[in-house]
Amino acid sequence: MLKGYFKVAVRTMLRQRGYSLINIAGLAVGMACCLIITGYIISQLSYDDYHADNDRIYRVDQIERTKSAVSYDANTAPPLGPALLEIFDEVEYAARLLPANRLLKSGDHSAYENKFYYADQDIFNILSFPFLYGDSATALVRPNSIVLTHHVAEKFFGRVNPIGQILTVNDKEFEVTGVIADPPRNSHIICNALASLNYLQDSGIMNHWLFHAFYSYIKLKPGVDASDFGHRIKRIGDKYALDVFNEHGYSYDFVLQAVPDLHLYSHPYIGPEPSGNPLYLYLFGAVGLLVLLIACLNFVNLTTARSMTRAHEIGLRKVVGANRLQLFRQFMGESLLLVFLAAVIALALSEILIPHINAVTGTALETGDFARSELLWVLFGLLVLVGLAAGVYPALFLSRFHPSQMLRGHAQNPTGGMTLRSILVVVQFTISIVLIIGTLAAHRQMAFMQDRDLGMNMERKLVVPVRGGLSLRSNYQEVKNEFLRHPVVTAVSASSEGPGHDLSCLYTKVLDTEEGRVQSIPYIFIDGDYLTQYDIAMIAGRAYQNEFSSDSTDAFIINKSAVAALGFTSPEEALGHRMECGYGDRDGIIIGVTEDFHFMGLQEPIGPLVLAWIPPLLNHLNLTLKANHLRENLEGIKNIWHRLYPDHPFEYYFHEETFNRQYQAEERLGRLFGLFAFLGVMISCLGLLGLVSFMVERRAREIGIRKVLGATVSGVVMLLSRDFAKWILLANLVAWPLAYIAIRRWLNDFAYRINLGFDIFILSGLLVILVALITVSFQSVKAALTNPAEVLKCE
C-alpha cells in the first residue's frame, strides 16, 4: 500500500512538473533561508560556550558616576582583580588582561599584533585556552614570557615547536613559553598573543584605582550565588580608594557580567570584540521565519489548489473502497515526499549559499555548521510541520466529500477554497511588502548617514598609525616635511586616533568657576595643523597655532556641546577659563570653541569633546592626498615611511572608510533585508504563478464562452488580473502601517535620521503590484489568446 502511495506521489509530481518545480523550489529557498538564519542565531548564542565551568566565570565591569554623567565601562583598574581575590573567599581565581597593540619581531619577520594582551597567569584557570605546547600552569609566571596562538606562532617560527624561542615585543625580548590553539570564532575576546603581566609590575600603574584599562575576570567557587555575590562587590573600590574617588568627584559600582552573556547582553561598544545585538538576532529570526512562512503558505496554497483537480481521482478511490484514513495517509505521504525533496535541496542550497551570504552580510557562517545536530533537528521539524500543514487540508477537506459529488465534479467548492487562498496570498504579499519597505528605508538611512555633512572633512585623508615603540616626539617636524615633499601629499598633521574610533574619555574639571564642573569627556589629541586640515570651523576664540608654543603646553579647545556640559552659558563665556584633564596631568586655558561636528557615527548625538594639543600623545599621521590616484600613490608614501622607519611595517587606512565602518551593522541589516525581500517577492510570485495557472485552467471554459460571446483579449486579461490586483492592494494596506511602526522603532536608534516619507511606501507598493501583474500576465495572456473552440469542444 505504501509503495502504491509513493508511486502515485512520484507520478503525480512528474505529471505536474511545472507545479512541482515551483512548489519544491519555493519551499527549498524558504527552508534554506531559515536554515542559514538559524545557523547564524545558533552561532551567536553559542558565544563562549566552550569555556570550562562557564557558569562560574565572570568579567567585572564598572559604572562610573559623576555629578552630571554616568558611563558604563568594561575596562577597570588594575588593583580590582587582586582585591576581589584577597577579600572574598568565594573567588577561586582572578586575572586581568591589558589590551595593547605591539610590534612583534623575529628575525626578518615583523608585524603589528593588535590582539595582544598582557595577562595574569591565572587567566588560564578562568578562560579555556587549550595548550598545544608549553605548561599552562607556569607559562606566564616569568615577566618576559609570552604565549602565542597557533597561527601567530606559525607565522613567526614556522611549523616547529617554538618553545624557548625569542620574540621581540616593541624592542623588548620575550621568551615563547606556550602555544595555545587558535580561539574559536565565537569568542567575546580573541587573544593572539599573551605576554606576562608581571612584566609591567614595576611600571607604577598597577596600584592605580583610576587607571581604567584592564579587563578583570574572576572564577567563582562552585555553589556561590552570583547575584548575591554581585551585590557584595558593588562598592568594593571604596574600601581601597574612596578618598581618591571623592577627591575627583567620582563613584564606582562594580557589576558581574557572566562570560557567556558578554557577546549579546553586555553593554554594546565596550568589549574587546564587536558585540552582537540581540535585537538584530530577533529581527533576523523573525525575517527568516517570515520568508519560510511565505514559502510554506505557497506550498500549502499550491498543493491544495492542485488537489482540487484530483477530486475525480479521490472520488474513484472512494468508489472502489478507500476509506478516509487511507486517503488521509495518501495525501500526507505525498506532501511529506515533496517537503522532503525540498529539504534536501534546501540543505544543498544553504551549503552553496553560505559563502555568498557571508560576502554580502559580513557574517562568518561556516558550511560545516549545517551538519550540526541542532540544525538537522530544525530541518526535520520544519519538514514535518510543513508537510503536515500542506497535507492536512486536502486530506481532510477532500476526503470528506461524497464520491458521487466528486465524480460529477461538484466537490470543487471554488468560492470557499478561493477565500482561503486569497487570504494566504494577501499574507504573503504583506510580508514581502514590509520587507521591501524595510530595505528601502534602511538604504535611505544609510545614504543619509554617509552623505550628511559631518562638520568636518575626512575626504582623501590617509591615516598612518605610528606605533610599535615609535614616537613622533623627537622628530615630528622632520617626518612631516618628508611626507610633504611627496607631490600628492598636500597637508600633514599628527593626532591621536580620531573621529570614528573609540576615543579615550578623560576626567575634565573646570578650575576657576564656583561650580567647578567635573565631566568625563572624550578627547582627541591634535597638533596645530589638524583643525585646518579637517576643515573644522571655530565659533569662538581661535584654533591652535604653531607659532604659539604655549598652545601645546597649556591650552584647550572644546566643541560647542562641551560648552554647556562644562557649565558655561555661551562659547564666548568659556574662553579664558582654566580647566584640567586627567588627574592633574595637564591644565590650561580654553582658547577656542569649535562648531559641533560628528566625531562618532550618526547613531549617536554629538556630545562634548575636547581637542587637546599634547605632543607625547600624538601617534597617528594624517596625510591629505591630492584628489586622483589615491591608491596608486601609496607606494611612494610607503617608501618614505620605510626610509624613516626601516624596521617597522607600513600601516594605513583611509579615514572616511573607517568612519563609515561604524555603520556596518546597519549596512548588513539593510543588505540582509534586501536579500530577504528579494527572496520573499520571488517566492510569492512563484506562488502567484502557480495559482494563476490553476485558476486559468479552472476558468478555461468560462473564458472560452466569454470569448465566443465577444470578449476581447485585453478584457479577459483584465478579468483575470483584477482579482490578484485587488489582493495585492489589500496587502499594501495591511503592510504599510506594520512597516511604518517597525521602521519608526528601528530609526529611533539613530540620533540623526531620515523623515519617513510616504514615497517609500508608494514605491514599494507599486513595485510589488507591477511584479505581480507581470507574473499574472504570463498565464492570463496565454489563456486569453487560446482559441475558445479548443476549450469548449472538450466539454
Binding site: 508511486k7 474513484l316 478511490r317 468508489v319 478507500a322 458521487s404
Partner: protein
C-alpha cells in the same frame, strides 16, 4: 437483495429545490439483470448512486441485503460498498496515474488483501478479460473499448454481488459496446446481480427487466425481455 420503498432524493441549492427522485419503489432480487431507462435528467444516475451507496436518499427506505442502509454513515456505506458492489461508468473513470494492473488491483488494496492473493486474482481477471498484454500500460494508452474492459475488470476484481453500470456503452462504438454487454451478460449468468442505466433500447434488451423512469418516478416496468436469456 434490494428493496426500495418511497425513496425520495431532493437536491437543495441556495435558491432552488430540485426533486430528482420521488416515491420510487423497486425490488431487485439476487441474480437479476435490470436495465434502467429514461430521458436525460429523469433521475437514472441519482437512483444508481443511491443503489450503489454513493449517496444517501432524502427520504424513504432502502434495504440492502436485509439491512436498512438509508441512514448509514459514510463509513458504514463505504464498508458495505467495497465488499459488495462494483461500478462501471460511461467515462470509464480509471485513475490516470495508475497502470492498468494497478487500477484493477486498487479495490483489493483497499480491502487489505495480501499481496500474493492480489497478484493471483488480478492476473486471473486480466487474463479472463484479455487485457493481460496491456497490464503495464496507462489508461490513456488504451482505446475506449479496452479502457471499459479494464473498468469491468476493476468492478469484478473483488467479486461483488452487485454491479452497477452507468451507461457502460455510452462512449463506445457498437462493436465494443456489444463486447462489454457480452461481458456483463456473462457475469450475470455466473450469478452477479447487474443494474445498468442505458439510453439504448437494444442494449436494454440484454436485461431481463427494464425499469422506465420519468421525472423521478418509475413509470413502467417490463419484465421478461429475453435477449440475453
Amino acid at each position: 437483495m434490494i428493496q426500495i420503498k418511497g425513496l425520495k432524493k431532493v437536491y437543495t441549492t441556495e435558491e432552488v429545490e430540485t426533486t430528482a427522485l420521488n416515491n420510487v419503489n423497486l425490488d431487485i432480487s439476487e441474480g437479476e439483470f435490470v436495465a434502467i431507462m429514461g430521458p436525460s435528467g429523469c433521475g437514472k444516475s441519482t437512483l444508481l448512486n443511491i443503489l450503489g451507496l454513493l449517496d444517501n436518499p432524502s427520504d424513504g427506505e432502502y434495504i440492502f441485503d436485509e439491512q436498512d442502509v438509508a441512514r448509514h454513515t459514510e463509513r458504514q456505506r463505504a464498508n458495505l460498498r467495497k465488499r459488495n458492489i462494483g461500478f462501471v461508468f460511461q467515462s470509464f473513470n480509471l485513475i490516470d496515474e495508475l497502470t492498468i494492473y494497478e487500477n484493477v488491483e486498487l479495490p483489493l488494496l483497499y480491502l487489505g488483501a495480501p499481496a500474493s492473493e492480489r497478484k493471483a486474482r488480478v492476473n486471473e481477471v486480466l487474463e479472463q478479460l484479455q487485457i493481460m498484454p496491456r497490464k503495464k500500460h496507462f489508461p490513456q494508452q488504451l482505446s475506449g473499448g479496452q479502457q471499459q474492459r479494464v473498468a469491468v475488470a476493476r468492478a469484478v476484481i473483488a467479486k461483488p454481488r452487485l454491479i452497477l453500470a452507468d451507461e457502460p456503452t455510452g462512449n463506445l462504438d457498437s462493436t465494443h459496446g456489444d463486447e462489454v454487454m457480452g461481458l456483463l451478460t456473462e457475469l450475470n449468468e455466473n450469478g452477479t446481480t447487474i443494474v445498468m442505466v442505458t439510453h439504448s433500447t437494444s442494449y436494454a434488451e440484454y436485461s431481463r427487466r427494464v425499469v422506465h423512469l420519468f421525472d423521478g418516478h418509475i413509470v413502467t416496468e417490463n419484465i421478461g425481455s429475453t435477449a440475453g436469456a
